[in-house]
Amino acid sequence: MEIQPIEQKKKSWFDKWYKFFPVVPVLILIISLVYLGFFFKQQGDFIYKDVSLSGGTTITLKGDFDSEKLESSLKQKFSDINFRKLTDITTRKQIALIIESPATAEELKAAIEDTGFKITDENSSIEFTGSTLSKGFYRQLIIALIISFVLMSIVIFVLFKTFVPSFAVILSAFSDIVMPLALLDFLGVRISTAGIAAFLMLVGYSVDTDILLVTRALKKGEGSLNQRIHRAFKTGILMTITTLAAVLPAFFLISGLPDSFRQIFLIIAVGSFADIINTWLTNVGIIKWYCEKKGIK
């Protein structure tokens, strides 16, 4: 085989350092957990919730109008109000203004119309969620997330039937959730119901590269252990690149997508980045160590 000499060289370097691979991701995981702890202490919750999870109204006003006046006038009337602009990526023109507040739809509508903006069925979308309902939603989605994680863990244990490899995969899935969560909190992103659904998706989606790695590493007879891990890496990284290719255009190339859509994609994108280090540093380290110890060469 032509690639043999390169493989050999890689081997020695890899064999020397693999035990330190998990250091960086584990540090990031610890920092994320500590940050989330502080965040929880400060905010009383693990995320910034948008109105679909905390109760209130979102009004989307379509069109390219002067939003400054409207924003300043509304800020005077409502203490807790947020604005986001949807702009066209190429022309930079405003497509719509999204207004969020815990106020009721009627209050917010009246305040907007007071500034002279006429709200019609055509130029606006109004979404109202009652606070009891949204709290219920939040509670249930968190329960769903936990159930989802437990079910996923069971599947992994059934699949591999051994503790260490299964644990490595589950740890990676856990980090894939915790890291994006901390980053989103740090960036001040308000998470919606669709966002939590995306975290559920992440639970199922991010483990496929880990399954690939563990399966390839544990199955003997396909070259050396390092070759098998290297091959898994080449396949897995392509998998993650295609995933990113599918979700990133939603931020850099296409504008004017529904908010729920963008949030799902944002979380999958951040989760995929986290998965790269969690799989190819932490897991590779653990699995290689495990195989060496068990004599799987």
Binding site: T60, K62, I95, D121, E122, N123, S124, S125, I126, E127, F128, T129, G130, T132, L133, G136, Q140, A144, S148, F149, L151, M152, I154, V155, I156, L159, T193, A194, A197, L200, M201, V203, G204, Y205, V207, D208, I211, L212, T215, E222, G223, R231, K234, T235, L238, M239, T242, T243, A245, A246, V247, P249, A250, I254, S255, L257, P258, S260, F261, I268
Partner: protein, 518 residues
């Protein structure tokens, strides 16, 4: 299962045939019926006012209008132009000849037909509210929890209310969440009815009282029938100026049941008479209450005293800044009152816990951008795979597989009449992403030049793929029940897409790859 090459011509394997068969079936499911709709000539009737002249002539929901008075109708614009032309000059009865795809209807009318029209659907796919526009309300009884049977009763009454009110493009469903709460989910496609809020949340308790005694209430027990859409017994009576605007009075006749009429006779028989300038009336009035608010007080003429009368005239008024506003307000109040009198009141007070109204214009913009995004994703993934494998055949087969998965998922959505909302489409894209990942695993296993048979290598690939498949299913399942099922679409389409991948496209893809390798 792989069949041998026969000369230069490759024979397709059973798995590939299954994929082709399912794709054809999907095409048939997605195409509109009849397929000539694709040409887009005509407009479809989305709803029609019952008892209107068009309805009586035989026009029905779902029919496709092709011509009006010999003018061809291809688009909604053609229709509105034709109708405004016809009714621009004519104030009297006009003869309308409406030709549909398979019939002709002729009727006389003095106003534009009471129809809601839409463009011909190009596919059988249905888009959700966030993409097509419309309104959604999640309703629950205030302060009490109810069983799912009670929610079904509520749905039956609400459904009747919407029918009476003339809103037909509506879906009512009972939903239950993880914590066992029952809700009624109301979805109206297209434009939002202005009074949706009131229609679904008002208890609609109607009471007619004389003094403190209830004479009759809304609903079938007391009210045999209500006159609507018949100018001889229902309509706007008069309009007049009031302070700060205009007011219009409406009136309509209702027919009491035998029992309610007797009660009316009993109560009135005990009343004395007042003599006023306008005439001789009983000393107490008939007070009409809607949700405990006094709507109107009607004088009862002396000759009704103690008489068993089944026919009663209900009156009320509407106000507004202009005459037109007052007229509309009066019409609306009349319709509301009629609806409640027919359907009766709901057994409890309701609370709207979620109300979304989505602009159809914004929704269309979103849908357009999602389609562009979809194409872009296909393109980028093809380019990446081509760069990696440098084989056009492999790239094409991956793209074909991705496309098949999305297409079959859409067909199933059309088949089960699933409304595709933004999360549903995100689910399809995520599912396709998993699909691509799986195919990369298969390709990498099959092109690795190791001393294991191709069959064995693909078998190994399927172990990884099945593992990934079950974790995705496990992760998405809880979403079916959480949050009143509003994110069910996301879970459904993801699970559908990955399942189609595992069952249909991936086996076919593996065979296609074997062919390419050979």
């Amino acid at each position: 299962m792989v069949l041998r090459k026969e000369g230069n011509k490759m024979k397709l394997t059973l798995r590939i045939w299954i994929l082709i068969f399912v794709l054809l079936l999907s095409l048939l499911t997605i195409l509109p019926w009849p397929p000539t709709n694709l040409l887009g000539k005509g407009v479809v009737i989305k709803s029609i006012e019952q008892n209107s002249s068009a309805f009586e002539a035989g026009l029905r929901q779902g029919m496709i209008i092709k011509e009006i008075n010999s003018k061809p109708i291809n688009t909604l614009e053609d229709y509105s132009n034709a109708v405004s032309e016809i009714f621009a000059e004519q104030k009297n009865l006009t003869k309308l000849t409406i030709k549909t795809s398979d019939n002709e209807f002729i009727f006389l009318t003095n106003k534009t037909p009471e129809l809601t029209l839409g463009s011909l659907p190009k596919t059988k796919l249905k888009t959700g509210l966030d993409l097509s526009g419309g309104a959604r309300a999640l309703v629950k009884p205030a302060n009490i929890s109810v069983s799912s049977a009670e929610i079904n009763d509520l749905i039956a009454i609400t459904n009747e209310r919407f029918n009476v009110y003339g809103i037909s493009d509506i879906s009512l469903r009972a939903v239950r969440d993880l914590e066992g709460n029952n809700y009624m989910l109301v979805e109206v496609a297209g434009a939002t009815p202005t009074d949706l809020n009131e229609l679904v949340s008002k208890q609609g308790k109607f009471e007619a009282k004389i003094g403190n005694e209830t004479v009759f209430i809304g609903g079938k027990e007391d009210i045999a029938s209500v006159c609507r859409n018949d100018a001889t017994c229902a309509g706007i009576e008069s309009c007049f100026q009031i302070q700060g605007g205009e007011a219009c009075r409406f009136r309509f006749v209702i027919y009491l049941s035998e029992e309610a009429a007797k009660k009316h006779a009993d109560i009135t028989s005990k009343l004395g008479t007042n003599v006023t300038e306008q005439g001789r009336y009983l000393e107490k009035k008939l007070d009409l209450y809607l949700d405990d608010n006094l709507v109107d007080s009607l004088l009862i003429s002396e000759d009704l005293k103690g008489r068993v009368t089944t026919q009663i005239q209900i009156q009320g008024s509407g106000t507004g800044a202009t005459r037109q506003d007052a007229l509309n307000d009066a019409k609306q109040s009349m319709q509301k009152l009629q609806t409640i009198l027919i359907t009766g009141s709901l057994p409890y007070k309701l609370e709207i816990v979620k109300l979304d109204t989505i602009s159809p214009v914004l929704g269309k913009e979103f849908a357009k951008n999602i389609i562009i995004l979809g194409f872009l994703v296909f393109l980028i993934i093809s380019v990446i795979l081509f760069i990696k494998y440098r084989k056009i055949k492999i790239t094409l087969s991956v793209v074909l597989t991705m496309f098949s998965e999305a297409f079959i998922t859409l067909a199933i959505a059309a088949l089960i009449r699933w409304n595709l909302d933004a999360p549903s489409i995100a689910g399809i894209i995520a599912g396709m992403g998993t699909g691509v990942n799986d195919q990369i695993v298969i390709i990498d296993e099959s092109i690795s030049n190791l001393n294991i048979s191709l069959k064995e290598r693909i078998k190994r690939a399927f172990f990884i793929i099945l593992g990934a498949f079950f974790t995705i299913i496990a992760a998405m399942l809880p979403l079916f029940w959480a949050g009143a099922g509003l994110l069910r679409g996301f879970a459904l389409t993801t699970i559908l897409t990955v399942s189609i991948g595992i069952l249909i496209t991936r086996p076919a893809f593996a065979d296609i790859l074997k062919k390419i390798q050979q």
